[in-house]
Symmetry: C2
Amino acid sequence: MSKKSPVIAIVGGGVIGSGWAARFAENGHNVYVYDPDPDAFEKAARTLNNGRRAYIKLNLPSSRVRAKVNFVSSLKQAIFNADLIIESVPEDIAIKTKVYFEIERYASQSAIICSSTSGILPSKLQQKMKHPHRLLVAHPFNPVYLLPLVELVGGQQTDPRMIEKARVIFRNVGMHPLWIKKEIEGFVADRLLEAVWREALWLVKDKIATTEEIDDAVRFGFGLRWAQMGVFETYRLGGGEAGMRHFLAQFGPCLKWPLTKLIDVPELNETLIEEIAKQSDTQSGQYSITELEQIRDDNLVAILHALKHNDWGAGKELALLEQNYQALVVEKKQDISHPVRTLEQIVPVEWTDYNKHMNESRYLQCFGDATDALLLQVGVDADYIENQGSYFTAETHIRHLKEVVAFEKIHITTQVVSASGKKLHLFHRLFHSNGSLLATGEHLLIHVNLVTRMASEPTDVIVRSITELVKAHTQLEIPEGMGRFVGQSINQS
Amino acid sequence: MSKKSPVIAIVGGGVIGSGWAARFAENGHNVYVYDPDPDAFEKAARTLNNGRRAYIKLNLPSSRVRAKVNFVSSLKQAIFNADLIIESVPEDIAIKTKVYFEIERYASQSAIICSSTSGILPSKLQQKMKHPHRLLVAHPFNPVYLLPLVELVGGQQTDPRMIEKARVIFRNVGMHPLWIKKEIEGFVADRLLEAVWREALWLVKDKIATTEEIDDAVRFGFGLRWAQMGVFETYRLGGGEAGMRHFLAQFGPCLKWPLTKLIDVPELNETLIEEIAKQSDTQSGQYSITELEQIRDDNLVAILHALKHNDWGAGKELALLEQNYQALVVEKKQDISHPVRTLEQIVPVEWTDYNKHMNESRYLQCFGDATDALLLQVGVDADYIENQGSYFTAETHIRHLKEVVAFEKIHITTQVVSASGKKLHLFHRLFHSNGSLLATGEHLLIHVNLVTRMASEPTDVIVRSITELVKAHTQLEIPEGMGRFVGQSINQS
C-alpha cells in the first residue's frame, strides 16, 4: 500500500494532530508534521508511542507497510508534496484563516485540505480562501488512531468530488467516514456530546453526583450499549417486538417531563472548574495521563477485537482493514523446494499467561493457522470447504523448546512429510525472528466429508498439488524430533 | 449460592421485569413473576431465552446454581415469600401506588420493595405507603441480565439500611449499584440519556442526519470510549498531560456556542414519529427484534469478556462474579483413587471454527487449564508461583478422537502417570457430558525457576502431594493411547 499511498501533511501536532499522524503512519502513509511549538515533537511522541503500541496489539498485518512520521521545521516543507493536508490548530477562526493562507501558498494544486475543527462551519472556514472548493471538515475523535469515526462536512463552496476523494483516503486507513450533508455547528457527534456534557456539568454543580459517579453511570450502563448500537437502534429494542413506533408512543410523554436542565447552561466559573478538577483527581489521579491513555487504548483494542469477532460495527471496519492487508501480503508462488512459510505473527500480550510467556495453547493455535495456510495453498479454500470437504486434525505432537514473550515476532515453516489417500502428515517448525527454533508441531490430518462427518478422499486437484509438495519435501532431511512419543529420551529418538 | 439466596418477586413481566427475572435466575435466585396480562409469559419467554443464551456465552460457572423463573397467577403468590420485591409496571404513579397497596397487603414484614422507575421520585412513590421506609428506586438498564448498572435512590422516608441491604443483593448477581444520594427526576443516567435523546430528535427533525447516521456517529466514535471510561475520565485525556484543568480551560468557551438546541424541545407529533419509525425501519428492518437483541447480546458479552481480560470497568464486575462462583465450586478433597476431575466447561461458540466444531487449539487450551487445576491441587498456587517456581510444558501429544460443537458440555479427568525430580507426566481425558471420549492429552512438564528460567527441583511440599497422587494413580490401568507417536498404526500401539 505504501508505494502508491497518498502523502499526508499535518499542520498542528497536538493530541489530535499527532493522533492523525499515528493513524496514517501505522497504515503505511508517509506523514509530515509541522508545528511551530519547539516542544511539539516531544509532546507528540507520547501519542505516536501510544499509536505504535496500540497497533502492535491490534495485530493487523500492517507492520509490513508501517511508515514514518517526519517532523519538519516549516509549514512549506510539510505540505509541498502532500496529497492530503490536515489542519489541526486551535479552534480559533482567525488562526485557522491565517494557516489556510500559508497552506495555499505552498500546496500542490491537487491537494485536498481538511480541517479537524469540532464545531466551526466549513463555509466560514473557506470564506477567505483562494481555492475554497478543496476545503472540507474532517472531524476525528480521540484517540484518532483507534476510533474509526470521522465526520466529513463540506461548505457552500466545497466541491463534492473533494469529499469523495477524502472519503476513499480515510476508508483506506480503516476509518468510517460519515458524510454530513447539512452544515451545522458541532456537526452530529459533538452536538450529542455537548448535550451530555452540559447535563453532566449541571449534575456536578447541583451536587447530585460526582464526576466518578457520573462516569460509572455511563460505563456500567448505556456506554456498553453504544459501543455497538446507537441511540435509535438501542431504543428500537426497548419497545420489544412492537419496535420503534411502540417505543416512541410509550416514551414520548417523557419529553414533557423536566428531565434535563438544558434550558440553561451552567457558568463554568473558577469554582466549578476547581470542583470538577478536584473530583477528577480523586477519581483518576492514581494514574498518570499516559497510563490512563494506555488503559483506554488496551480497552479499545479489546473491544474492537471483540466486535471484529462478531463482524459488527467498528469491528467490521477492522476486519476490512485486515483483509486489505492480507490481500497485499499474498505471496508469489512459493519455492516449494524448501519448507513453506505458513505464518507470521507478533505475539499479542493477551496470548501470554501467568508464567509471563506465550501460553501452550497458542502454540497449537499457531500450528493450526499454519495448517490452514498450507491447506489454502493446495486448494482447500472457502469454496472447497463449502462444496467438497475439509481436513480434520487427528493427532498432534508438540515439542515446546523455547519460551517466547509478548511483542516478539515469530514465523512458521511447514514440511509435508507424507500423504496417502485421506491422510496428510505435516511437520511445522515455529521460529523466533532471531532464527532460534521455539517449537515443532507434528500433525496427522484426515480428509473429511463435512456432511457425513466421515473420512473421505480429497479431490484430484488437491491430490495433485499435495503430491507435488510431497515430492519436493521428501528430498529434504527428515525433521529432527519427528516420530517422537512424549517423554522419549534423546538417545531413543 | 442458591440455598441461602434471597427469593425474588417481580411484579410486571415486560422487557424490564423479565430482564430482572433472567438476571436473578441465571445467578441462582428463585424468581416469582406476576403480570396480569394473560400473554405475559409468552412475551417474557423471549427475554428469558435471550438471558439464558447470553449466560451460556458469558461462560461463568453459574450453570451450577441456575434457578427457575416461576410465573404465577396472582400477586399474592408471587410476593408472599419474597425477600426482595421489584415493581416493573408502567411509568404511571397512579398504577404504581395501587400496586404498592396490594404488595403491602401480602408482603413479609422484612421484604424490601424496589421500583424500576426510570424517572419518578421515590419520595412521591412512597407517599401513600403504610411502611414507606422500605421502598427505594432500583433503576436498571436494558438488557438487565447483561448491563451491570443499577441506580439506587431512596426517598425522604426510605431507611438507608434498606438501600444497603438491596445493594448487597444486587452486587451478588454481578451488578454495579450506584447509590444516588440526592433525589432528582431521571436520576443520573436517564438525565444524560434524555439530553442525547432530545438533541437526536432535533437532528432528525431538522434533517441534519438520519437515525442511522446518528447511530453511526455514536457507535464508531464516543460509544466505544464510553464502554470503558465515562465522560469526565475521557475528557481528562483530551487535555493531554495537563489533564482536566487544561481541558476545562480550553473547551470552556464552547459552552457559549450554540452547539445544542436544547433550549427547546421538539414536539414529538405524528409526523416526527412517522419519520423516525420509517428511518429506523430502513436502518434496522432487515433484522427481527429478536435477531437484533441477540446481536446486541453477543456484542455485549464479547465486550464484557474483553474488559474482563483487561480487569477494567464492567469486566471487573464479571471477574468478581466468576470468582464468587469459583469459590463456591471448590470441591471437597477429592477421592484420588480415580483420575482427578480438573475441568468443566460449556463450549463457547467463539471456540468453533470454519469446520463448525471446536478448533483444535481449544483442546490444548482445555488440557492446559486442566493441568493448571491439577497443579493448583498439589500446591502450585499464585503464592508458590510468585516465590518458588512453576511448571512449563515441554512436550504434548493429543489424539483428537471426536468432534464437539458449541454449547455442549465437556469435562476432563487427569491421571498422573509418573513424576521424578523436575519431571511430571500427565494424561488427560476429555469427555463429552454424554460420556464419550473426545480427546486425550499426554504431557511432559518440567519444574522451572521463574527467575533463571532453568529447570529446578520442586519444593518438598509439592513433591509430597505429587507422590501421593502418583502412588494412587499407578494402581490404575495404563491409559490407552499413551506413549503413541503421530501416525503410529493401531497394532503398533
